[in-house]
């Protein structure tokens, strides 16, 4: 690696302390032979439900949907413990299924890679997925298309599992777009609402922009290394030119931005809240949106060799964490507030992932805990909406803690976790990230710190507006607690939100992930870690206090006040991200397309039709020669004869 003294971020790799891990796969035996079943089960479920049709599968679709995911969870769990029992060097299990694409020297296999990283993801996806499936049985009970909903959910789980299990970039791409499709279908699940249909399309299209990065990245990987599989690439990654690695890193960052709703491709996530709430919990909080983080962490053997791309990841993460947090502060729609928060939290993960070996493990750790508490909160929000007749406006809530006690308590667990209340899971994971980012750069660290404060502010605001204060309910709303099938998953997730921090106990997570992402590196910090924890806690407390002072003490108006500061207006408008897209892309794009259509009709086709018209005009002129008089024809025949004779004479005379 070439050194760059101008860099803000000194690299440990340069000092030789960090070894980029190389993936050595061992054949799948024992329980690992069943790896493919983990994907196949939900895929089968989706196929049965979707091909069978809504009416025929109505009776059993929800049960089948849950059963397949629970089955996958069981296998994942067994596999996890099996992996736990292995040597650290044997923890990358490969399973070859079949050759997918084989063209010339291009080859991509349907092959699975089960290593500590994917193991954690499997647990998250199937575990949280199972809970959300169960919850959906209750949440979607009155929807006549519930069977189809479960079909889509299963499809999503299958695709997501493909994404994290594939051993090559093309397979990741398959899962990548598969989850995009499922997300599209689920956001637009209530597609009779035009807003849902538009949001679904927007999500897909924005994701496609990110997919450009994924596609080009995969191509560049192939062009550089002659293969798209992780293992061989990780072996020789160090020999590739830095420029290539930078390009790869930026391309995959583009992909990650799309999938994980990072600035500048963040605009779809808030709109995606049009989907049913379990979808928001599963796809747009816990799993799919974290795929970008997965991609960056999985490609650690690329990012470790390129500072520029890493810096880009850090910048994107930092900007997004603030961006999302600010948006979250202004939203009155409970789901959108949570979506802003999701964006912000993924920003943290991105930031961590961009820190390289200092942060990979913490990114994943935060990803897990976030998966727990954010799913918990989304489901809680769903439960609240369920109680409030699907009203999402927090200004119509208030004083719900008595009406929906279980939801309140579980939501509170999630709340404490996300703001980083000491001891709760979010405290451990976020604290580590802030600490590591301070090690990188004071500026980034400060941003992360401020983000934590804002997080505390807006989450407290959500909490206060929803569960405390005065009743501001709509007429005829009688809040009631949700059925057991919904509250049980809430309780489980709340427990995980509280206890998720245990994963860090004895540095379990970081050690576990070492074979996949390398050992954690540590900065020499100015203060001891506990000092950072203290600072973070103080900042959080400040955020909570501000929220209490502004929201908790005052009456909350039932309609949003309009004479507010510019910052609030901007935050309500998603910091003008959509407006920017519209002005910069959609409007000119529209005009360009209209112009092009006109050009095609009038220009390109005009040339064609013009030629036709010209010939028609010419023949119109020439046909006048055809007078119909035999004698003029005879005259022309004679003239021809004269010409022939003259020609003959001319030839003979010369």
């Amino acid at each position: 690696m070439t050194s760059s003294s101008a860099s803000l971020f000194p690299r440990l790799a340069e000092e030789g302390g960090h070894a980029v891990p190389v993936i050595h796969q061992v054949p799948a035996d024992g329980v690992f032979a069943l790896l493919w079943v983990i994907i196949a089960l939900p895929a089968l479920g989706a196929a049965i439900i979707l091909l069978g049709g809504g009416n025929r599968t109505k009776g059993f679709a929800h049960l089948l949907g849950c059963a397949t995911v629970l089955g996958s969870f069981a296998i994942s769990l067994v596999s996890f413990f099996a992996l736990l029992g292995r040597d650290e060097t044997d923890r990358s299990v490969g399973q070859f299924l079949w050759t997918w694409v084989d063209a010339g020297s291009f080859r991509a296999d349907m092959a699975l890679l089960y290593d500590p990283l994917s193991a954690l993801f499997l647990l998250l996806i199937t575990g949280v997925g199972s809970l959300i499936h169960l919850y959906s049985i209750g949440y979607m009970e009155h929807d006549e298309r519930r069977a189809r909903f479960f079909g889509y959910l299963n499809l999503f789980v299958a695709a997501m599992l493909m994404l994290v299990l594939s051993d090559n970039y093309l397979g990741v791409f398959l899962g990548w777009e598969g989850v995009g499709l499922a997300s599209y279908l689920l956001i637009g699940f209530w597609q009779h609402k035009p807003s849902a249909a538009v949001a679904a399309k927007k999500a897909f299209v924005v994701n496609r922009v990110g997919d450009i990065g994924m596609a080009l990245g995969t191509m560049l990987v192939f062009a550089t290394f002659g293969t798209v599989a992780f293992a061989p690439v990780s072996e020789v990654a160090g020999e590739a030119p830095t420029a290539t690695m930078t390009a790869l890193g930026l391309l995959f960052l583009l992909a990650a931005c799309g999938k994980s709703a990072q600035v500048p491709l963040q605009s779809w996530l808030l709109d995606a809240m049009e989907g049913p709430t379990p979808v928001s919990a599963l796809i747009h909080a816990a799993t799919m949106v974290t795929a970008g983080v997965y991609l960056v962490v999985r490609s650690n053997f690329i990012y470790d060799y390129t500072e520029v791309a890493q810096t880009a990841v850090v910048v994107v993460g930092t900007v997004t964490l603030l961006w999302g947090a600010i948006i979250g502060c202004a939203k009155d729609d409970i789901k959108k507030a949570l979506a802003g928060s999701t964006m912000s939290q993924i920003g943290y993960m991105m930031l961590a992932a961009g820190l390289g070996p200092y942060g990979y493990a913490f990114a994943i750790f935060h990803l897990l805990t976030h998966g727990f508490f954010k799913a918990n909160m989304f489901l809680g929000a769903g439960s609240v909406m369920h109680a409030m007749n699907d009203d999402v406006d927090m200004r119509h809530y208030g004083a719900l803690q008595k009406a929906v006690p279980v939801t309140f308590l579980t939501f509170a667990m999630g709340y404490l976790a996300i703001i980083g209340f000491p001891g709760f899971s979010g405290f451990w994971s976020k604290d580590k990230i802030i600490e590591a980012s301070f090690g990188e750069s004071t500026l980034v660290g400060l941003c992360a710190l401020v983000g934590a404060g804002i997080t505390a502010f807006y989450m407290t605001r959500v909490m206060l507006m929803t569960f405390f204060g005065q009743k501001r309910w709509e007429e005829g709303v009688h809040p009631h607690e949700s059925p057991k099938i919904m509250t049980v998953p809430l309780i489980v997730l709340a427990a995980l939100s509280v206890l998720g921090g245990l994963l860090l106990f004895g540095d379990f997570v970081t050690d576990w992930l070492t074979p996949a992402v390398g050992a954690v590196a540590h900065h020499e910090l100015a203060f001891a870690p506990w000092v950072f924890s203290l600072i973070v806690t103080v900042v959080v407390a400040v955020g909570v206090t501000i929220a209490w002072l502004t929201v908790g003490r005052n009456e909350v108006p039932r309609t949003a006040p309009q004479n507010v500061s510019f910052v609030t207006r901007a935050a309500r408008a998603d910091l003008y991200g959509d407006a920017l897209n519209e002005e910069l892309l959609m409007r000119p794009g529209d005009r360009f397309v209209t112009g092009l259509v006109g050009f095609d009709d009038k220009g390109v086709d005009g040339v064609v039709n013009g030629t036709g018209t010209a010939f028609a005009g010419m023949s119109g002129t020439f046909r006048k020669l055809q007078t119909g008089y035999v004698r003029s024809y005879a005259l022309s025949v004679l003239s021809g004869a004269v010409l022939v004779v003259v020609a003959l004479l001319a030839v003979n005379l010369t």
């Binding site: 046909r623 055809q626 119909g628 004698r631």
Partner: protein, 99 residues
């Protein structure tokens, strides 16, 4: 006998026939002019037969006559038919073959 005047006469008659076809309008007269052209060529054929000293030219002239006879039969029948339907023997009246 010098054959050249014969050939010249043939050419002159042929030309007159041509012009006749072009300027006359009565279909029957036009037909006569065509006959004149055929005859003019016959004269040339016969003359060349004498020049070359074999009878092939005469045979050709004979064939021309036969063909002319057939042509006249059909042509006049056509003129009759047209006359019957259109009450006119002028070729300018049969000008349907136009734009």
């Amino acid at each position: 006998m010098d054959p050249t005047p014969f050939i010249g006469l043939s050419a002159i008659l042929f030309t007159i026939g041509c012009i006749g076809v072009l300027v006359r309008r009565n279909a029957i007269v036009i037909f006569m002019c065509v006959e004149l052209m055929l005859n003019a060529s016959n004269l040339a054929l016969v003359t060349f037969a004498r020049v070359h000293g074999n009878l092939d030219g005469q045979v050709a002239a004979f064939f021309v006559m036969v063909v002319a006879a057939a042509e006249v039969v059909v042509g006049l029948a056509i003129i009759m038919t047209i006359f019957r339907t259109r009450r006119s023997a002028s070729v300018d009246d049969a000008s349907l073959l136009k734009y």
